[in-house]
């Protein structure tokens, strides 16, 4: 419980209308999109200015109250699930795009700006902000930076990390810290930007984010390659990468997902296909022609039964609309959906695909596989009913197996969803005891009372 006098202080800082203390309001901030137990916070505050945000951080630290920053709450690893007795700081009122600089190609935003809104605003000026996480219609840029979010365009354009030029954030005392610059090059000081990206709210609280923008590609072309074996499709992925063609997107869908999508949206996908590759190349028109021809030839050489090239913008949109409905289509099949994002070096995609298939068979659980094959980031999607205890145990065992296989293949536990609570106990497997200790020392030095989103990434 929060003391009355302290409650009053929060009310003075952010305004009484932006402090939620009733149990019904607090319960609505007890979860995020991860399949984990909800935890009810003691208080929720919603600052409307950067200044108030800093003061909230200071007040929490002074009173040793754990603080969890929340944007849109779309986190898939539990990073925004609060601490009991803690405060949730909602950033969605800090939603101003402060600057879009066309000459120097950068944007400065507050942390609560919705990703898709920035993308649309810069596109209107002929510029491009490529990171496009699946939740971009609602996710906030602050959350994207805190999680180092990815998206469909990772293989050619990279992830959120590659676009963060600088940050202004509050340390645990509420003091403003500046890192990075508006310049393309910047070689001063520690690379605190690098430390903060993906820190999941455990080291500081973002106030302003400077993001790199690039020119919008002139042309693009999409195609769908149909395969009668999953193995052939995954080999085609590895071959495209090995040939040094870099598509903007290279997505895979297994038969289970294809059927779910087709039943759901009737997009005209071949339901009998064992696997599909959805590929888009972009850039200068001449290069687009060239790359498309190469990708097509590689897919054929790897045994593609059919290749359909979108002939119009409408056809292209249809391809990607089908891909975007994959998660929805799978979600409708069972009450609980667990979306994993273990990632492997791209040459290991065929091996990872085989591993997921055998894990699915071994535990007798339904796993649909789709995802960003081109960057090694598959999304094995487990369909289950969490209320079925026996099956849920199998699901947990299967997830642990998926992690083990990904690590054995030289991969990582998470390509884009973050460590959060869901993967913190597995982190040592990927790294080493010394790495965890080193991380804990960094955390202890910067947050001595352990109030900044405690328990995330490196555990309690």
């Amino acid at each position: 419980m929060i003391r009355k006098s302290l409650l009053k202080e929060f009310q003075i800082i952010v305004g009484a209308e932006n402090v939620f203390s009733e149990d019904t309001d607090r319960l609505a901030y007890s979860y995020d999109a991860a399949v984990l137990e909800a935890v009810m916070p003691a208080l929720v505050v919603r600052p409307t200015t950067g200044e108030a945000l800093g003061q909230v951080v200071r007040l929490c630290n002074q009173n040793r109250i754990p603080l969890t920053v929340r944007g849109a709450g779309t986190n898939l690893s539990g990073g925004t699930i609060p601490i009991a007795d803690g405060v949730v700081v909602v950033t969605n009122a800090l939603n101003r795009i402060e600057e879009i600089n066309e000459e120097d190609m950068y944007a400065v935003v507050q942390p609560g700006v919705v990703t898709a809104k920035l993308a649309a605003a810069v596109e209107a000026k002929g510029l491009f902000y490529p990171p496009d996480p699946g939740s971009q219609a609602v996710s906030t840029l602050g959350g994207n930076v805190a999680e180092n979010a990815g998206g469909l365009r990772g293989l050619k354009y990279g992830v959120t990390r590659d676009y963060v030029m600088g940050l202004q954030f509050f340390d645990v005392d509420g003091e403003p810290i500046k890192t990075g610059s508006r310049t393309v090059k910047c070689a001063t000081g520690y690379n605190l930007t690098g430390l903060m990206v993906g820190s999941e709210g455990t080291l500081g609280v973002f106030n302003k984010i400077t993001l790199k923008l690039i020119p919008l590609p002139q042309d693009r072309k999409s195609m769908v390659a149909v395969f009668d074996e999953m193995a052939k499709a995954s080999e085609a992925v590895a071959a495209v990468i090995a040939s040094h063609v870099v598509p903007a997107t290279l997505e895979i869908m297994d038969n289970f997902t294809i059927r779910a999508v087709e039943d759901h949206s009737h997009a005209g996908l071949p339901k009998e296909a064992a696997a599909l590759l959805l590929i888009e190349v972009d850039g200068h028109p001449a290069q687009v022609q060239d790359d498309a021809a190469k990708v097509e030839a590689i897919c054929r050489s790897k045994g593609a039964a059919d290749i359909r090239v979108a002939q119009s913008a409408a056809e292209r949109d249809k391809v990607w609309a089908a891909r975007r409905t994959a998660l929805s289509a799978l979600a409708k099949l069972r009450p609980t959906l667990v979306l994993e994002d273990a990632t492997v070096p791209r040459s290991q995609i065929p091996a990872m695909v085989r591993a997921i298939q055998s894990i699915s068979a071994r535990y007798g659980i339904a796993i649909g596989t789709f995802g960003h094959a081109g960057d090694g980031n598959l999304h094995p999607t487990i369909l289950t009913d969490r209320r079925d205890k026996a099956q849920w145990q199998k699901v947990e065992a299967a997830i642990a197996d998926i992690f083990d296989r990904a690590l054995a293949l030289g991969g990582t536990l998470s390509g884009e969803h973050g460590t959060g609570i869901a993967k913190s106990c597995f982190l040592e497997k990927e790294t080493s005891p010394a790495t965890i200790l080193y991380s804990k020392r960094v955390k202890a030095a910067l947050d001595p009372h352990n109030i900044l989103n405690p328990g995330k990434i490196i555990g309690g």
Partner: protein
Amino acid sequence: MASMQELVRLMKSLEDQLVVCMRCGMCQAVCPVFSQTGREADVARGKLALLDGLLQEMFKDPRGVYERLNRCLLCGSCAANCPSGVSVTEIFLQARAILTGFMGLPPAKRAVLRGMLAHPELFDNLMAWGARFQSIFTREVNDVIGTSCARITTPLIGDRHFRGLAPKPFHRLQPGLDSAPQRGRPRVAFFVGCLLDKFFPDIARAALAVLQFHGVGVFMPSGQACCGIPALSAGDTQSFGRLVRHNLALFEARRWDYLVTACATCTATIRKLWPVMLREETAALRARAEKMAAKALDINQLLVDEIGLLARERRKGGDPVAVTYHDPCHLKKSLGVAAQPRAVLAANPDYRLVEMPEADTCCGMGGSFNLQYYDLSAAIGQRKRDNVQASGAAVVATGCPACMLQLSDALSRAGDRVAVRHPLELYAESLGTKT
């Protein structure tokens, strides 16, 4: 109040529907209330979590959940955008019914719903008295829109600019009708709906004129009752059941091909909610309601998909008038009807359709939501008004009389001279059938 255990037992009936929500949060992108407040308890995910919280016995008192559950326009934007296909509207209405049954209907709502609305004849009489006396308390403010405001400040009206009750409701102008179709044309049952009857009789007249022009037979029994949405929205399934029974008995008196309305909300209520919201009634009644619901059709949809429009020569000189179209949530999101009303508008060559930005975002009306949360409703309406303005149109058309009331209020308070019309009125004009 009964015990919380009893409430949990009742809420169990929703568990299988509640569990479908995976908390992805995509509803935040489209919820008109959330876009204003940014509060999680205002968006579907938050409300579903609260209902789940009731089930898990997280609350000592259900009142907080009940209040937040009512802060919802029931526009269905979330459901239409939901990756998991959660039946949000149905869950919310069932939950409202359970909670209202548990806590009791507030006295004011009881008086209006059970005392008036559930008795169609009494309701008609009371509204007729209202129409007679409204001019004493109000004055005209915008002649293009036809709105009035209060002469003196009253808590009920506030600073609303409202369309007044029609001097004569439609059922006085045209008590009933039973006409035969021409060869090859269907016979439709025409469900008038409260707002058309009492506020917009001209639209009902245009509808009948257009149907007659196309040789469609019309069965319109007298003594029609409300479709039931205000009762459902208040959680009063008892009054809802009464209204459905009353309407079923009237409309079952004859055979017809479609049940047609010119009100998006009536169509959506009959088609989507009648079949699922009669859990307390007998199986026989549910079967009757389902049968009728399956034949419910929006009038624009009937004209475009079943009859075929007739495009006439221009009747007016000069440039065509710019008209923009607002998608009522209950047409586009509930029923998938968006192209047909636009086709109806395009059939009148004296008008030129221009799209406004965000044509399919909610106008913020939401029936009783407008009464309970007027500031929020008005703020959402203001955004719609700005989008109408941005289109530069002189007329905004929409297929729902409730949206028309909200658009009239928002445009009139901004001092805009933009007329608010139903697509059918413009179509009737082009056919020269308008009476």
